[in-house]
């Protein structure tokens, strides 16, 4: 079963996506902890795409599609902006160093990578697609 939602690129819609994901997961009777982790991972990617990928341009949209297949949660987040995320350049940050220098951002993808089983970013003809997967059974 697949569920889908389209949102415009504003931070106000972060809560909309979180509710979409938690409502979708409701029927699978998962623990609060697991639901929160999955919702968080999706929220982090969506926030990055809204704020950094699309510059909070409300005329731009994200398409979000969630499904469960073979006891695995999967979600696709798609947009059409020209800025694409390059996971190859990602290095896990040193949090002690972040504390020392007072850095405010930069731990979102660390959460995503530690929570989800698979994290994929692809770009094809102006379409950026992020896929996240997590076993739930």
């Amino acid at each position: 079963m697949e569920h889908a939602i389209r949102i415009s690129c504003t931070r106000r819609n972060l809560k909309v996506v979180r509710d979409f994901v938690s409502d979708f997961l409701l029927r699978y009777h998962l623990t609060d902890l697991l639901v929160n982790q999955i919702v968080l991972a999706v929220d982090e990617v969506v926030a990055n795409l809204i704020i950094h990928g699309n510059g909070e341009d409300e005329s731009q949209f994200l398409d979000v599609r969630a499904r469960i297949l073979n006891k695995e949660f999967g979600i696709e987040i798609e947009d059409t902006n020209l800025t694409s995320y390059s996971p190859a350049s990602y290095r896990e940050p040193d949090l002690q160093e972040y504390v020392r220098i007072g850095k405010k951002g930069g731990v979102g993808m660390m959460l995503v990578n530690r929570i989800m089983d698979r994290v994929e970013f692809t770009t094809n003809g102006g379409h950026n697609l992020c896929r996240l997967y997590k076993k739930i059974g």
Binding site: R11, R12, L14, K15, R18, D32, L33, N36, Q37, V39, L40, D43, E44, A47, I50, I51, L95, Q96, Y98, V99, R100, I101, G102, K103, K104, G105, G106, V107, G108, M110, L111, R114, I115
Partner: protein, 109 residues
Amino acid sequence: MKITQQSTENTLTLSLDGELDASSSVVLDTELSKPEILHNHKVLVNCQKLNYISSAGLGVFISHLQRFQDAGVKLVFFNMQEKVHNVFEILGLDSLMTIVPSEADATAI
């Protein structure tokens, strides 16, 4: 995100109510950025009604921790819900920050 403040001698308690995400964390950042907050010996953060935290919320605490430590101000979290505590654990922040079960524990520090 609603933040309620309670001040006693040398201790400021901030009670967080709601969700700390990339949209709402600016409110918390504004509170923690105020210079007068460093006049306290302790800043206690009551997380009982904090239902959600994302990296943006964590980032606010990460960015102020050293400033608080340099000023001799203890930042202590208490009454944290399990799912929120789990987010701190995933990053190992529970070993960099002081998180205790109850207000009594926080006051005793």
